[in-house]
Amino acid sequence: MANRFPAQLFPHFYQDGPPEHRAKHVYDGWGSYGQILRGDDEPAQGEMEGEMLWGFKAQHKKKGEMWIPVEPVVTPLLPPNKAGKIPSGPPSSPDNFTEHIQHFHVHHCMDSFSTMGHLLGEHFNFHKNKPRKGCINMGRMKNVVRRLKYKKCEVRHASSYVHRYHHLLEDVICDIPSALLAELLHEELTFQRQQEQFRSDITGGVLGCVPLPNIENQNEICLIYPRGAALDSLNFHRVVLEFNEGKPNVDMSNTSLVYNLKGTVRQISTVRVDDKGLVGVRSDYSCGTWVIKDGERPRPLEVIQLKEPCTSLNVSPHICGEFVVASESGAAYLWTVGKRPQKFRDEKTNLYFNDKSDWRWCEFSAHPRVMVFADRTGAELTDSRSSDCSHTLFRIGKTAGCKSGERLIVSKYMGEVHPYHHLFTTQFSAYILDERMPSIPALKWEHMMESPPCFARVLPALDSSTSTKILLGAQRAQETVLLNYTGGCEQPCQSDGPLQKLYSPCEGLKHQLLPHKQQEVEKRLGVLAAGLTATQSNGFLTVFQFTEAGDLFSQTLKLHLDTTSSQKDLSAANCDIDLVDLPSKDKPAEEPRKDSIPQETSTVSDEEQLSDSDFEQELRQRMLSQLEVVTNDDQDGSLTSDTEVRISCEPAPVPESSVDIAQNIQARSVRPANPENASEELKLIWKKWLNSLLDLNTRKKRSLKHRRLKTNDIQVKVHRRDQLKEKERFQKLRNGLNDALKNKKLFVHGGSCLPPLDITPVPDTVDPSDWLDDLSQRLSASWAGGWKNWWEDKLGLNRDSKIQALRRKRRQEKRARARYRVALSGSFTSSTSYQDTLSGWSSSTSQYLGSDSESFATSQSAAEDIPLSEPETLPKSPVVEEFPRSEGTACSSQAIESIKPFSHTSERLELDHALPISQNQNQKHLPKKVSTVETQSVLSPLQMLKESLYSQQRQSRQQLQKDYLSSLFGSQEPSQHPVEVHDNSQLSSSGTLRMQSSGYSLAMQRLSQNRSSSQASQPQKKKSRMGF
């Protein structure tokens, strides 16, 4: 059967030439049927809608076998590899070669300097205290060398003598010339960077699997994988696969058999031939073989050593003990165990075009003596019996529909599946080629992987109805893809359903970890994949994945079974939903709508249609991530009715698809989506694994030490006894504080045992009379608010007015004497005159008050009383005359504006004033001058302010004085009177406002008055009272 060739092949163009098509995106694998072919079966039963149903088949079947992951994450099978490598940071740039050279010189000094060091050694003396003759003393150099062990201080000053020696010996001292070393290192680093992106040397993978014969119905396999820091110890591990109650279990409890090798394992190739399992292990320059016989321990057979790096080793599936080896130089050998490897091909260049790649690959083919020889440009079938018999099997070109830049990544003989089939993978596609019909791919997939797949594993179909499975694995991102296909013998190859991506270890379950641990775990899990293998039994497919860090993971997929059971399950699932699902309010509303869909004539695009109801469903689903599976069922449950409706209206052609749909539905209901939905046991396994990984990592940390300088001698020695005392005291204090807290008491200083605080005494009160110098007097005057007056006094500016006042006084005295009226006021003057020089003036005013308006004086409120009694205010009276005038012209509007906010208080003050003003008016019968003086005296604080405001007018003082005098003496002139009255009325409002604004200074004055000049005012009052 296997020897049959398909009776008809899918149509295919055969074109020569290099590929032209450029890869624009990686989604070519979807939405295409490829080609189409008429099936063998004759037109189907009867007519349907006037159309015969023909059995057409597409190259890419859309509905196929469904494999559903049992768990949403992979399972770690082995404890983390203790010495597993994790790439530390990004690959170093080739330009950093200087750092590497430095490292080499410092840490491998014997390699870099030993020869020259020996030669020069006798001329240098490193002993500090023992100078030798004819030698250069290098005692100081010792220090420099000693410090190299430590992390270097960046700001260290460069020692000139080191530099001098460096310049002297730089060219001589290195065993390997620096220029050469640098060049080679740069080359190597460039190569390593390329390796970081894609490593061709691990093509084929380092994970092998040999099925062992079934004993007692136990499914046993032997896994072969390397471990250790350099992946250089080969493990043969017997693994038992159990499938209890549909739950697969991989039993790794057997201990593995370990062989320690001399080099890193690059590839493990396994095949079961007849009754033996054969294992080929490839390292860089050597290849070894092991044989696993039934019931026996794995046994090494033979090892060969090659001169050039070996790139491929494959075991013959036909003849026991035959291997093909390919090396970078382009030589290919047939190696039969026990015989010398026989070179059958030596290809110096690439096969079809110059790709400048050293990668060569060799595989067996259907004929035991014909080999596949491949490189990046294609593959040829070579007969090992004759030197010149070879023909193309596959080449990058138009025929295979390749894209420009496409290169062969790995080739695999699919002997266990089909004797004539070969699998070729490129960055974009996977090809199956039948060697009976070379160049034309029997089947082609766009695998849509992001990085090129370099591991492949093929699993045969278990019976004719199932499909063959191909697993492709890539290094980066550990991508693994499952492809299914059928046919190849009588039927042409057809891909079976869409490709499926399997879970990768880097998407593993991550418990809530601290960020730095999370990072560690991610780094560890995210290393390059290094191998892939799989085994199948009882409808389960177990995939093993191996990472470069030496960790082994597995995942199991379950074949999704027939529809009838799924229907049953579905109804069961539906019951569940009703219990678990959220408010099913919208369910009845949804169902009729769904039913109505088939009747609609759809003109809308599918996106719109798909997005409405499903979207809500999905959103709900997301929110209930725990119930995800169940909610899915709900939706599908409502859909089954839909499909049934359709089945009834479209009888013949759709049953298959409806079956598929039902299958699909069931599949989705089982398919786990969220890693969080993993089973508890698996979560536990992961937890343990992560813990042991983190343990390993914490133990492993090491880095260059910092150099420590001793600073003991710098520190001042502290006496121990003092320290003890201090400690005790703190303890006591703490206790006291605790007690206070407990009892909710105040913790006062007295209660503590702290040393008493220094009490700073309050300074004595200052008596201004003690300080008789100018400055002190001025200060005390300005404290009392009479700073200006003090200055005026001091500078003698008010001398004229004083003289005036004196004169007036004398005149009054004269007048009084003339009238013979001895008044009480006379006693006032005498009583006040003792005060000071000014008292004469003030007494004169009080005289006025007392004499002219005694009733007024007594009824005055205290506030007005003060300015009147204030001795210093009065000297300003000369300016009073000008005040009303300026008030009316310039200031009034501003002042009023500025004082508005105080209007209510000003009203009160106005009321206070109302009395004197009315009194003023009542007293009109009094001589005119008296009334004017009185108003002036009322306004005296205002004058103070005014004075400061209009100080610039002082230069015209003389003129003003004249005016004043004229007003005093010419006041009886009737022309002046109405103006005066008018001014006063104006003033009454604005003036009071003034007063109020200067309320603060008033208060101050009052205070000072209370303190210092109480003597002056009180006798005044007394005496005035005495007068009545």
């Binding site: 296997a2 020897n3 060739f5 092949l9 899918f10 149509p11 295919h12 163009f13 055969y14 074109q15 032209e20 098509h21 890869a23 624009k24 995106h25 990686v26 979807w30 939405g31 049927y33 015969m52 057409f56 859309k62 509905k63 992106q197 894609f198 007849d274 009754d275 036909h318 003849i319 259907a366 035991p368 990046r376 019996r385 025929t399 420009s404 830049g405 290169r407 960055q427 009976r436 019909m437 070379p438 034309i440 990085s451 090129p452 893809v481 869909i597 759809s602 003109t603 695009s605 599918d606 996106e607 798909l610 997005s611 499903d614 979207f615 859909l639 052609p653 759709v654 749909i661 398919r671």
Partner: protein, 430 residues
């Protein structure tokens, strides 16, 4: 991805400027050589992308992940969002988005539980016209979809509409697609012709007969056209030959088949030779002719199942020299492990060997044996094989034993020692 290629190309050519000592030709070659995309790093391209492009790229990634994990409904949601990309102002990206949406959209519809044929039609129609560059391809896929769902006439209509489509300058892949469209159009003509034929044969009706002929004419013209192109055209050749045979145009049919089999421009297709062989056999061609056809086939595919027939033809042939050729044929067949358990082949070998022995041509057997000795022993005559054959197919064991006996005359007798011992042991047991 093409941007990166361009970038890589530039950097490569820039780098090459440094090699002053490399010859001019080599430098040119280096410039032309497309960079290998063994690994595609997209980080460079992402540096300058706009927010819109970034979000659409992320969306596409989400669709991809969902589809790769077969979460079709999730993918459908994302796709509805992704349709915004069609508004991209850059022409390149827009046409790319068209293609992506078409591909992803159809794939999702294939697996989405509530998709209907109308949805497919709507999607195909829309994408056909929005991404004009893919018109032919989408038409082809659309008709495939209709065909697979049993709508043969709709599919035929689609194809004939697409066949008459003209738009600007055709690109190479598009012209190939148009050729395929023509071919499938003809193929469907043939299918309809075939249906008519089976219905006509019952009722002799002139008008339907005429209709059938018109289908034949249409089909023959287009099929002839595609068959003239180098390629694998098994279904087209078969249908064309079928029609020619129906109208008794054997010569034309033979010409077509011979061209298909022997034209150097065509790939070596074993089926082409098989068709020719079957055709000649149907028309009772002389054995010499058949042998000549099978000789070519043997050269191409020594493991073909017709080789047994070839072998018998050679053995029975009267032409001198043919008998001698038969031995390598059957030996070659058994070189292939896939034939190693086939009783008929071993019988054939036994027959041929006995004939040779009878005719005194043992040196030829010795010659063939010498070439294969090293691997035949381990491949066919290990103790394990004897044990297994005794379990599964004792007849085979017998035949193999007889062959071994004949072969043993030519080699050292101890070659088969273990095997013989086993056989004796087995026969003693039963």
């Amino acid at each position: 991805m093409d941007d990166i290629e361009a970038e890589l190309g530039i950097s490569r050519s820039v780098g090459n400027e440094d090699f002053s000592d490399s010859s001019e030709d080599e430098r040119v070659a280096r410039k032309i050589r497309p960079p290998i995309l063994l690994h595609s790093s997209t980080a460079q391209a992402r540096a300058k992308e706009s927010g819109f492009h970034e979000s659409s790229r992320l969306c596409l990634k989400a669709i991809r992940d969902a589809m790769l994990h077969h979460h079709w409904q999730e993918a459908a949601q994302y796709l509805s969002a992704y349709s915004q990309t069609l508004e991209d102002t850059t022409v390149n990206k827009q046409s790319l988005a068209c293609e992506i949406i078409w591909r992803l959209g159809t794939e999702i519809l294939q697996h989405h539980p509530n998709s209907r044929l109308e949805d497919f039609n709507a999607l195909y129609e829309q994408m056909k016209n929005s991404g004009v560059k893919n018109y032919a391809k989408i038409c082809l896929e659309h008709s495939f979809h209709l065909l697979l769902n049993g709508h043969i006439y709709d599919a035929k209509r689609q194809l004939s509409v697409a066949a008459s489509w003209r738009y600007g300058k055709q690109s190479v892949p598009q012209s190939l697609d148009l050729k395929l469209i023509h071919a499938y159009c003809g193929f469907l003509d043939y299918v309809i012709w075939h249906m008519k034929k089976s219905s006509v044969s019952e009722a002799e009706d002139n008008s339907s007969n005429r209709e059938m002929h018109s289908y034949f004419r249409q089909a023959s013209v287009t099929l002839q056209e595609i068959i003239a192109q180098p390629g694998v055209w098994d279904p087209f050749v078969l249908s064309y030959v079928d029609m020619l045979e129906f109208y008794n145009d054997q010569e034309e049919a033979l010409k077509v088949l011979q061209n298909y089999a022997y034209n150097k421009d065509y790939p070596s297709n074993p089926n082409a030779h098989v068709y020719l062989y079957q055709f000649l056999k149907r028309h009772e061609a002389p054995p010499a002719k058949l042998i000549s056809i099978l000789k070519v086939l043997h050269h191409l595919v020594p493991s073909h199942e017709l080789m047994q027939e070839y072998c018998y033809l050679l053995v029975n042939s009267v032409v001198p020299g043919h008998l001698e050729e038969s031995l390598p044929v059957v030996f070659n067949l058994l070189d292939y492990p896939s034939w190693k358990n086939d009783l008929d082949t071993w019988n054939c070998l036994l027959t041929v060997m006995t004939v040779f022995k009878r005719k005194g041509l043992q040196h030829l057997i010795a010659n063939e044996w010498k070439q294969r000795k090293d691997f035949w022993l381990t491949m066919h005559y290990r103790a394990y094989h004897g044990r297994k054959d005794s379990e599964l197919n004792r007849e085979l064991l017998l035949v193999k034993a007889k062959v071994a006996k004949l072969l043993g005359e030519h080699g050292k007798p101890d070659h088969f020692f273990k095997y013989k011992l086993l056989i004796i042991f087995i026969f003693l047991m039963f």
